[in-house]
């Protein structure tokens, strides 16, 4: 008997006993569905957790400060920077030229006095306060740790639009759920410059009335306001035009005002983050990146994934026992058929092969059905989760079924069924022809 004959016989047998076949397939499908759903949900959760850790930016992102590195802090996630050190265009070019660096996004910032007419939650007027406005190239926003909470980001060339952080909401006594309330309001940001006025030093202000167009969670720089590089550069230029030559903007030990407040460097992959950080340290700047935190969280998530996989595999094992049981019953029922096959020349190994293939067929069909149903279950769970997130005014999740999960579930259920068929197949193969034909 050829393999092809054995497959045809196995398929015909499955079709000839639809009731038992359907029940066996359903058992395998349920187990496979459970495994698929758990693995899909686990993968989605991992993606979301890591996104959160990187504040929406790339996982391989590194913050570079306009400061020298502190040798004792180099491998810390949130390294304490050393003494101020100007970060200029030449330094940016050197860092851009490092191997394993995919992108470099400069960050500028400027000190501002903030005046807002928006009342606090308690109805009080907020006193003017000092803060920083952070400017980035908004065409590169996808490479930055900036997450939109409400509204939108400033227009690409805007000089009068700003996004605020949740810190601004907190000042107003508002929560993230209230974020849409501040969108559309205005805020006045005043850049100061120091002038010598008749022998007295005083501030002169450049006041910009800006529209708040969005609320963000941002970790690109220290400040509660995010604007375009052009808008922040104008503010810096004003402060730098003072009689103190921009001392307000901060100077390094050589008296140089840093053109950039920092850089956001994206390494080529998470594995290169430590290497790139060391290289930037060698260039002479302090860095920070959540690499240790991400590695720890990934380890914990891996443990969760293993536990969930184990739950699914146990279900598959139970289903495999069901296959063994069904196949043993089939062997008893089909004694005459086995006897006839042997009488007309089928060898033991032909019988063995037929029963094994029959078990594997049940496993494969159950696995395919289970992967599909598991995907539907994951989608249903995602719909419930997204409903909850929408209520909380948070962005939703996107569930994707990795190819590795589909292949793994299909191969796993087929192989387990194959293994479950070994005992019944061996029993059928060893059955003497005369005993089989007589049905004793």
């Amino acid at each position: 008997m050829t393999w092809f004959d054995a497959i045809r016989l196995a398929v015909r047998t499955v079709r000839g006993r639809p009731g038992r076949a359907v029940l066996t397939v359903v058992a395998v499908a349920l187990a496979a569905a459970l495994l698929t759903a758990l693995l899909t949900i686990s993968t989605t959760a991992e993606t979301r957790v890591l996104d959160q850790l990187s504040t929406g930016g790339p996982l391989a992102g590194i913050k570079v400060a306009a400061a020298a590195p502190d040798p004792t802090q180099i491998d810390q996630d949130n390294a304490k920077p050393g003494r101020p050190k100007a970060l200029d265009a030449a330094a940016v070019r050197r860092i851009q030229g490092l191997p394993n660096v995919r992108a470099v996004v400069p960050v500028v910032s400027a000190p501002v006095l903030v005046l807002t007419s928006t009342r606090t939650k308690g109805g009080h007027r907020l006193n003017p306060f000092f803060d920083q406005v952070v400017g980035v190239d908004l065409t590169k926003i996808a490479q930055l740790p900036v997450t939109l909470v409400a509204g939108q980001l400033p227009a690409l060339d805007s000089l009068s639009q700003v996004a605020v952080t949740e810190g601004y909401l907190e000042r107003l006594g508002l929560s993230r759920l209230d974020a849409p309330r501040v969108v559309g309001t205005t805020v006045v940001l005043a850049s100061p410059r120091l002038v010598n006025d008749g022998g007295q030093t005083r501030y002169q202000g450049r006041w910009v009335k800006m529209s708040i167009v969005g609320v963000v969670a941002q970790d690109a720089g220290d400040g509660q306001f995010l604007a375009t590089t052009a808008a922040v550069t104008q503010a810096r230029d004003w402060s730098a035009s003072g009689d103190d030559h921009g001392r307000l903007l901060g100077q390094d030990s050589n008296g140089v005002v840093s053109p950039y407040a920092g850089l956001f460097v994206v390494a080529r992959g998470l594995d290169n983050v430590a290497k790139v950080r060391l290289e930037i340290t060698a260039v002479g700047y302090s860095t920070s990146a959540p690499e240790n935190l991400i590695a720890s969280v990934r380890r914990y998530l891996r443990v969760v994934e293993i536990v969930l996989s184990a739950v699914g595999l146990i279900a598959l094992l139970v289903a495999a026992l069901g296959i063994t049981n069904a196949m043993l019953a089939a062997v008893r029922e089909r004694r005459r058929e086995i006897g006839v096959l042997k009488a007309i020349g089928a060898r033991d190994r032909d019988i063995y092969r037929t029963f094994l293939l029959e078990a594997a067929t049940l496993g494969f069909i159950g696995g395919a059905l289970g992967a599909f149903v598991g995907w539907l279950i994951a989608l249903a769970v995602a719909a419930v989760v997204n409903g909850y997130l929408a209520q909380q005014r948070l962005s939703g999740i996107h569930v994707s079924l990795p190819l590795s999960v589909i292949v793994g579930v299909l191969a796993g259920s087929t192989l387990l069924a194959f293994a479950a068929g070994i005992l019944p197949a061996a029993r059928a193969a060893r059955m003497p022809a005369r005993e089989a034909v007589s049905g004793v």
Binding site: T139, L148, V188
Partner: protein
């Protein structure tokens, strides 16, 4: 686990920045202490310049304060006018009298200097130049500068903003009154 992972937000591309916008209108204030309200810096929100920026200017607007302490019109020409071109002003306010009154600057000299300021502001791109002046009754030290301001306004086409009683300009009500006069002139 999914819920736990998702309750603190996530990335969204919905707000990717797009579009362009016009350059904000720029108001530059030149002059002396009465312009910059140096004596009211503890409460900048209620100064007349802030009120004009907030209520009298378009949604996107910049206000630059160039005013200096105890400056005469001549000093404004030397120290403030050179900066004006780089600021691309749409509106310039000029209020400089007290130091000239105190130093008894001759009216002819004052008029000539004020004319230079207005011309300079126009050359810097300002379409609207406002000349602010308190009532003549408050200028009894020299007695002629309010008339000089009015004359320069009429000769140069600048807008004369006759302020009401400014003796209470240190109060919120006084600042509001000045702001209302300027806003009315801008309209």
């Amino acid at each position: 686990m999914v819920l736990a992972a998702c309750t603190s937000g996530g990335p969204s591309l919905a707000g990717a920045p797009t579009g362009t916008e016009a350059r904000p209108s720029t108001l530059v204030a030149m002059g002396a202490i009465e312009t910059s309200n140096l004596d009211r810096r503890d409460d900048p929100e209620d100064t007349w310049t802030q009120l004009v920026l907030t209520h009298g200017m378009p949604a996107a607007a910049v206000f630059v304060d160039l005013a200096g302490q105890n400056v005469t019109a001549e000093r404004v020409i030397d120290t403030q006018l050179p900066e004006l071109a780089a600021l691309h002003p749409n509106v310039v306010t000029i209020w400089v009298e007290s130091a000239d009154v105190r130093l008894a600057t001759p009216a002819v000299t004052y008029q000539s200097e004020l004319t230079r300021l207005v011309t300079g502001a126009r050359q810097a791109g300002a379409r609207t130049v406002l000349l602010l002046t308190p009532p003549a009754t408050e200028q009894n030290l020299s007695g002629g500068l309010a008339a000089s301001v009015a004359q320069v306004a009429s000769q140069t086409g600048a807008t004369l903003v006759q302020l009401g009683d400014t003796s209470d300009r240190y109060t919120d009500a006084g600042q509001r009154r000045i702001a209302n006069s300027v806003i009315a002139a801008l309209r």
